[in-house]
């Protein structure tokens, strides 16, 4: 991102930041007042209904990446890039049947780590923890950094202040309210984001007809319309599998599968995926219109805000500021809560204090949330620009976990050798091709290698897993 002029006066930015900070913290305290145990705090009492469930699935998946990276994908890789980004919705749609299975097999489960530990043993669990913590922490760091940078670009608020306020607000309401606060705020945030994106899409269309956008692209950026654009067609399944890996393994989604009321999880994830699907298409369309609207783009990741500000003026800049803040908050809070629960359940409880009291676990989860927030803040403060790109290294790691998870949930013959080998081989070879070809093939190759290994190990396996072992007593 380059240092061009801010779209909003700093005073307006500070006012919006203060207003939404007070709102989220207030709601977090209100929603968290009934939390007594770790189950209340981490899983909202396992009683989330369909409306909140669908909204939180969609809102958590609408990250700053959806509102910022989807336009960037469209600007870089054209129509295919826009469609490639929207395939991440398939992660939620396919997790819908899996969530029902997870609830059935693990009625007392807390985290995705519980699954790996009980299904494949401690070695696979350790590899999973390493991969998922790398993914979660880099995602958290990249979003907090993006928050500081975006608020600075949009309104001139100094990077360190913007990043600190966004992170601080999310830490405070997640600590106080746990998953109930995260899901409640997600509901409001998803409504704001969806309305905002619809308004932006309509505004862009009213400014420039589709025919003019097409003519401009055909003349100035022909590869963006090319059906056989090599980098773009490679990105389609790579992005799809990256999305599948992200959703299938991460405790953000598993904690929701455990938190939703019985019978709700499948419908909520399917609805969440359908709600999410058009959002990157709308955001990507905005980027494709930039040429026809004559908006010069100094950096690909700024195309969304620049087009919106051009079309809607200061009102548009205020809107994009709010959308960005909501997108960031709805994802940072979910990651903080899910990662804190993972560390509390999988590390503190399972490794050190198996007999810990539920109230103690709740307090530990709150302290871990604070610790995660401070860690993220310390890493983000120096603003090392290249750090955010580390998130892309996670692509092969999460891709390599798809087959161990899917077969582990459905096949009794899936085994530890297959899971551990699939994760390590897939991730290693995927990372090699990340550097040899590019980020747009790494997840795909990692998933393919992991799949072949898991299939071979399952075919040769003589063991048959007893599903009852997943029904661990609390």
């Amino acid at each position: 991102m380059t240092s061009e002029a801010a779209l909003l006066p700093a005073g307006v930015g500070w006012t919006l930041l203060a207003a939404f900070s007070v709102l989220w913290i207030g709601l977090g305290i209100y929603w968290g007042r009934r939390n007594k145990s770790f189950e209340d705090h981490a899983l909202a009492g396992r009683n989330i209904g369909l409306a909140l469930g669908s909204a939180t699935a969609a809102a958590t998946w609408i990250t700053s990446n959806t509102t910022m990276l989807a336009p960037q994908f469209a600007l870089q890789l054209g129509i295919w890039g826009m469609l490639a980004y929207s395939t991440a919705a398939i992660g939620l749609l396919l997790f819908a049947p899996m969530a029902g299975r997870i609830r059935k097999l693990m009625p007392n489960g807390y985290t995705s780590g519980d699954f790996f530990r009980l299904r494949y043993g401690r070695v696979a669990w350790a590899v999973f923890l390493l991969f998922t913590l790398f993914y979660s922490l880099t995602w958290l760091v990249s979003m907090a950094m993006a928050g500081g940078i975006l608020l600075n670009t949009l309104s001139g608020i100094p990077y360190a202040w913007g990043m600190s306020v966004i992170l601080g607000v999310c830490v405070l309401y997640t600590m106080r309210g746990g998953l109930a606060a995260v899901i409640g705020t997600d509901f409001i945030q998803s409504l704001i984001i969806i309305v905002g994106i619809v308004v932006v899409g309509v505004a862009v269309l009213s400014h420039v007809p589709v025919e003019k956008i097409h003519a401009n692209l055909a003349a100035e950026r022909p590869a963006l319309l090319d059906v056989l654009f090599p980098a773009a067609i490679m990105a389609i399944f790579n992005n799809l599998l990256f999305g599948l890996g992200e959703v299938f393994h991460n405790n953000v989604w598993w904690s929701r599968a455990f938190a939703f009321r019985e019978g709700v999880a499948g419908k909520a994830f399917a609805l969440g995926g359908l709600i999410w699907f058009p959002i990157p298409l709308a955001a990507g369309f905005v980027a494709l219109a930039s040429g026809a609207l004559n908006v010069p783009v100094p950096a690909a990741d700024m195309v969304g805000p620049l087009v919106v500000a051009e079309v809607l003026g200061e009102a548009g800049a205020i809107g994009i500021f709010i959308i960005v803040f909501c997108s960031l908050a709805s994802s940072i809070d979910s990651l903080l809560a899910a990662t804190a629960d993972l560390m509390t359940e999988d590390v503190y409880r399972r490794m050190f204090r198996p007999a810990a009291h539920p109230e103690t676990l709740k307090k530990i989860a709150q302290w871990v949330t604070l610790g995660l927030g401070l860690f993220t803040w310390a890493v983000c403060l120096p603003r090392i620009g290249t750090l955010a790109t580390v998130l892309f290294f996670a692509g092969p790691l999460v891709g390599a976990m798809i087959w161990p998870i899917v077969t582990g949930l459905y096949w009794r013959r899936a085994n530890t050798t297959g899971a551990v080998g699939g994760m390590l081989l897939g991730a290693g070879i995927g990372l090699f091709f990340y550097f040899a070809i590019g980020f747009y093939v790494a997840s795909l190759i990692a998933t393919a290698v992991s799949m072949i290994w898991v299939l071979a190990c399952s075919a040769l396996s003589k063991t048959r897993f007893d599903w009852a072992l997943l029904r661990e007593a609390e």
Partner: protein, 129 residues
Amino acid sequence: MPAIPAAAAAAAAAPPPSFSASAPLSSDTGYTRLDWNASGDVVVEQARKADLSDARTIYEGPNHALFLSGLGGGTYYFSLRDETGARSAPLKLTVSHQSLTQALFLTAIGFLVFIATVAVIFRGARDDQ
């Protein structure tokens, strides 16, 4: 002798605009970013011929970078011109897209992996009891 306005004098005294890249650029994706140093507004021109005889303006303003995408394969030349008319040395960009055969092969693998994943999920555990 008429007085020279301060801004014009400063512009006249400033070095000519220059691209940040010291070597020719290359891209296998059809996108790249041009960065430059200039003291004021610039005009960025794009051409397909090395002598810039077919140049056309693609940006005019105060920014110091421009993101380009969707470029077809081939060679492109860019130049900068500031308010005084001073020009930069041209910058060459070679776009050579990734192999289509490799892309289609990887896409086919991706499709197979995806279909297999869907099949495992929707087939469920019915034959594995």
